[in-house]
């Protein structure tokens, strides 16, 4: 098989599916996708993330959500209290598991297929504008065929009280399946919204999930964004998150991500108005033969914006983690303060971590820094525990717990912290020296 199977197959199949006829984007995206080469090892942005297996698997694009065991699915959703919930199974909305009628009636959550004229106009104006299509081939694949999508719209000067929970479930299919879903979040001026994304799975899966989320925050809008990527390790996923920040807007993200067969996150933050603020907090964990790749790009295009980024990595067994954090200060973006930090714990001889924090700065009156560190558990700390009668295994577990927990406990939603801890307990269940980690509390 040639390495371009995925591309050819996707093109053939998507040509047979119909996009919403009022959307202008798919045609453009198809042309761009056709013109772009799939990344190879020589593509700088994919240098450490081999795509050979993905590109050689014949994935089939499905037109409707498959059958799922609804009670098993409901168990995975967590107890998040009073939330509006949209559940997608292998890329398609599952009405039975979803409950969002309140917000639908208020016009806050709308499916693309139900959009009214004003909303269609908004979607046409906003979708596909928060990133450079040439650099994101999987995004153009996603937009090549848009049979539906979700628009989340926070009205002007309105605080949406209920958090919105988006759940993406993956399950096993008869054939390897290409699941594509997309969400557009539009925070109107002065609005406020909390978004919870949960990527989860129902056991083993042969799905390749290609997800696109675009967020556009208008002046002084606020968005708190919680992301749990806690799927089964058999999943392959490329996840694009592209954010546009207008003047005075505030975007805060907290993420927990597990590795899987392939997981790639492209997070792209564009500062388009002054005094905007962005905080990215993340922790990623990988074990077994998992792969996780986080690519962060902060485009400081205007003056007086600040960003703070902290990502921590926990890598063990034969897994591989990749981190790339780029701060790009454009020529006129004076008075920017941007800081990025990546700290990693590498626990196994077979594991590999490749990190690359980048600074690209074209303005002089700025304060920027980045840092990266890779290390093992601190011998002195372990000795300290042991000298107080705590055995080494427990001491190691506690130090690891502390390392991960430092990020998780900053999640601004206790119910989500609880859910994150459940998934972490599952994750650590078969990590030899750490399986009693979460029972310590």
């Amino acid at each position: 098989m040639t390495p371009h199977d995925l591309k050819q197959q996707a093109q053939q199949q998507l040509a047979q599916q119909a996009s919403l006829d009022w959307l202008s984007l798919p045609q453009k995206a198809q042309a761009t996708f056709a013109a772009l080469d799939m990344p190879t090892r020589k593509t700088e942005a994919w240098k450490y993330t081999p795509l050979t297996a993905l590109l050689n698997t014949p994935y089939f694009a499905h037109t409707a959500a498959g059958q799922v065991d609804e009670s098993a699915a409901a168990d995975r959703l967590g107890q998040l209290g009073d939330v509006s919930r949209l559940v997608f199974v292998n890329g398609h909305l599952h009405p039975g598991l979803s409950s969002y009628s309140d917000l639908e009636n208020q016009g806050i959550v709308t499916l693309f297929s139900n959009a009214n004229d004003a909303q269609r106009e908004l979607i046409n104006a906003e979708l596909g504008t928060a990133f450079e299509p040439q650099q994101h081939v999987f995004a153009t694949l996603n937009y090549s065929c848009i049979e539906d999508g979700v628009l989340i719209q926070a009205p002007t000067d309105f605080k949406v009280q209920q958090p919105i929970q988006l759940v993406y479930l993956s399950s096993g299919e008869a054939q390897p399946a290409l699941a594509q879903s997309r969400v557009l979040v539009y925070g109107a001026a002065g609005s406020s919204l909390e978004l919870i994304e949960q990527y989860d799975s129902l056991g083993e899966t042969n799905v390749f999930h290609n997800q696109m989320t675009e967020i556009s925050l208008q002046p002084n809008a606020r968005l708190t964004h919680l992301r749990l990527q806690v799927e089964h390790e058999s999943l392959s996923q490329v996840n694009g998150l592209h954010v546009k920040l207008a003047a005075g807007s505030h975007y805060e993200q907290h993420a927990l991500a597990f590795g899987s067969a392939l997981k790639r996150n492209d997070i792209n933050i564009n500062f388009n108005g002054s005094n905007a603020y962005c905080r990215l907090n993340g922790v990623f964990l990988s074990k077994h033969k998992q792969h996780i790749d986080n690519h962060l790009n902060l485009e400081h295009g205007v003056p007086h914006c600040n960003s703070d980024t902290v990502y921590k990595g926990f890598i063990t067994d034969s897994s591989r983690a990749v981190f790339n954090g780029r701060i790009h200060i454009h020529k006129h973006a004076q008075k920017t303060e941007a800081h990025l930090n990546n700290k990693n714990l590498l626990l196994s001889k077979q594991a590999e971590l490749d990190t690359k924090p980048e600074l690209e700065i074209y303005a002089d009156d700025v304060k920027c820094s980045h840092g990266a560190s890779i290390g093992k558990l601190d011998d002195k700390s372990l000795f300290y525990f042991q000298s107080r009668g705590i055995d080494r295994a427990t001491a190691e577990a506690m130090l690891c717990l502390g390392f991960v927990n430092e990020m998780v406990e900053q999640f601004p939603n206790t119910a989500v912290i609880e859910l994150a801890r459940q998934r972490l307990a599952e994750f650590f269940n078969d990590v030899d020296q750490l399986n009693h980690l979460w029972t310590l509390e």
């Binding site: 020529k331 590498l346 971590l353 490749d354 924090p357 690209e360 002089d364």
Partner: protein, 479 residues
């Protein structure tokens, strides 16, 4: 900033004069015949010619690297002359007394104590003028210690075993595009061999100068420090002011055997082009050292103030257990200069340590990038790396960039990387001016302080020169 400071930036490049000497220069262009001519002119043995041709054939299949954060029109490799030597009445000069007085005067003007009578601080110098080595000083004294210090052309004839063993052992012919080109056409350079358990009695130094129009300089330096030896080596470079861009594609190979230490310092002051970015040297250099034996150490210190474009990554392969690699760099860019420079530390042996301190200063309309790689192999137990890259921006038209690659395959390794970017702060300037120090001087003080960590690694004479060079290069940058 103030006008006075503006004017300060516009100082002249002091080494920019042309020496009018008769020279013998090959017509521009590159093919196998040119390589045969170069090899024949240097009376090289057949194996050397074959080695060059092999490199040339590999080069033909390679493409110029595009990944660096640099912009320049493609180099026309057929517009360059690959060999130029000052013409002397007979053949090569037999001793310093026979060297064209004009050339000696040139080096005199540059402050190179070439002539032994002008003994300065006891530094042995090998001077390379365009393509050939002009003379090496203090040869006798070095010979007493058993140290070999001569031009590489001589070494090929006199010490073929050492050359065959080590040439290309650190930077193979096909290593990269410019290294392959250098391997094919290198004309001269220095060779140093320090015998076992010998501490080289003096600092060794090479001075490179490009003089002829439309020539490229492709020198090759090879330093071998045998077990338990120590050598400190200095390198300096200048070129005349010309409107055309000239190519400098050198290769430097260092081999440190067990317990040996090599300290390699560079002050690079090639012509950077005029204030409109016209002319200047393209400095595309491959420098690499291998710490082959246990407990060996290689330390690179560089002060880069010249060149229109710098593409240079002095690296260390830490193969021996407990070996140490160091990289200290100050890169200053002004005007339209572009620099993409940094280092690679490849940790292979156990308990290997590396330290990287890089200080980038961008002024004018220049672009200054640090690009580094730290790679820890699965066998490198207890490896340790510390990296610090700081950038200072002077003016709002320039850019400062950091691209560190960190690849770790060993859980026992500890790696730290830190980078900051800032400008000369108004508070610091205010404090200085309040105490009666004018703005120019204040900036110079602040920049010098910023670079201090690196300067202290330089040998004394060089540290003074580097400080001055920085001052001149910055003139007019403040405003």
């Amino acid at each position: 900033m103030s006008d006075e400071i503006e004017s300060l930036i516009r100082r002249e490049y002091e080494a920019g004069f042309v020496t009018n000497i008769e020279s013998e220069t090959l017509p521009p262009g590159l093919n196998e015949d040119v390589i045969r001519i170069i090899s024949a002119k240097k009376n090289e043995p057949e194996w050397m010619l074959q080695w060059r041709l092999e490199a040339y054939r590999k080069w033909c299949d390679m493409e110029a690297p595009q990944w660096a954060h640099l912009q320049h029109p493609p180099v026309d490799f057929n517009a360059i002359s690959y060999y130029s030597s000052p013409k002397s009445k007979d053949d090569a000069p037999k001793s310093l007394d026979e060297v064209d007085p004009e050339i000696l005067e040139t080096f005199e003007k540059l402050g190179i104590p070439l002539h032994e009578r002008a003994k300065l601080a006891g530094v042995a110098v090998d001077a390379v003028f365009d393509s050939v080595s002009i003379g090496t000083t203090y040869k006798d004294e070095l010979a007493k210690a058993g140290v070999i210090f001569c031009s590489i052309s001589e070494a090929i004839k006199d010490y073929p075993d050492l050359i065959q063993k080590y040439l290309g052992s650190v930077v193979p012919q096909q290593d990269n595009f410019y290294a392959a080109l250098n391997s094919a056409v290198f004309s001269d350079g220095s060779f140093v061999y320090i015998p076992k358990n010998t501490r080289c009695p003096m600092e060794l130094s090479t001075y490179f100068r490009i003089n002829e129009l439309n020539t490229g300089q492709f020198e090759r330096t090879l330093i071998v420090a045998d077990e338990g030896s120590y050598v400190s080596y200095l390198e300096g470079c200048t070129a005349p002011m010309r409107d055309e861009n000239q190519l400098h594609a050198a290769v430097v190979e260092l081999v440190a055997l067990g317990d040996a230490e090599i300290k390699y310092s560079t002050v690079q002051n090639w012509y950077p082009g005029d204030e409109n970015g016209k002319g200047g040297i393209y400095n595309f250099v491959t420098k690499r050292g291998v710490c082959d034996g246990a407990n060996s150490k290689i330390s690179w210190t560089q002060v880069e103030t010249g060149s229109a474009i710098t593409w240079k990554y002095p690296s260390v392969i830490l193969r021996g257990d407990n070996s140490i690699g160091e990289f200290y760099s100050v890169a200053l860019t002004n005007g339209y200069q572009q620099a993409d420079t940094g280092t690679k530390m490849i940790h292979l042996g156990k308990n290997t340590k590396s330290t990287i301190v890089s200080k980038g200063i961008s002024a004018g309309r220049s672009q200054n990038a640090y690009r580094g790689l730290v790679r820890i192999s699965p066998r490198a137990e207890g490896a340790r790396n510390y990296t610090q890259c700081d950038s200072l921006l002077i003016g709002d038209q320039c850019g400062a960039h950091t691209f560190p690659y960190i690849e770790n395959k060993n859980p026992d390794a500890i790696l730290e990387h830190e980078a900051t970017t800032s400008k000369v702060s108004d508070d610091q300037l205010f404090l200085c001016r309040q105490r009666g120090i004018d703005e120019e001087k204040a900036v110079s003080m602040i920049v010098n302080g910023f670079c201090k960590e690196v300067f202290k690694e330089l040998p004394m004479e060089f540290a003074v020169e580097a400080g001055k060079l920085l001052e001149v290069s910055l003139e007019g940058a403040v405003g």
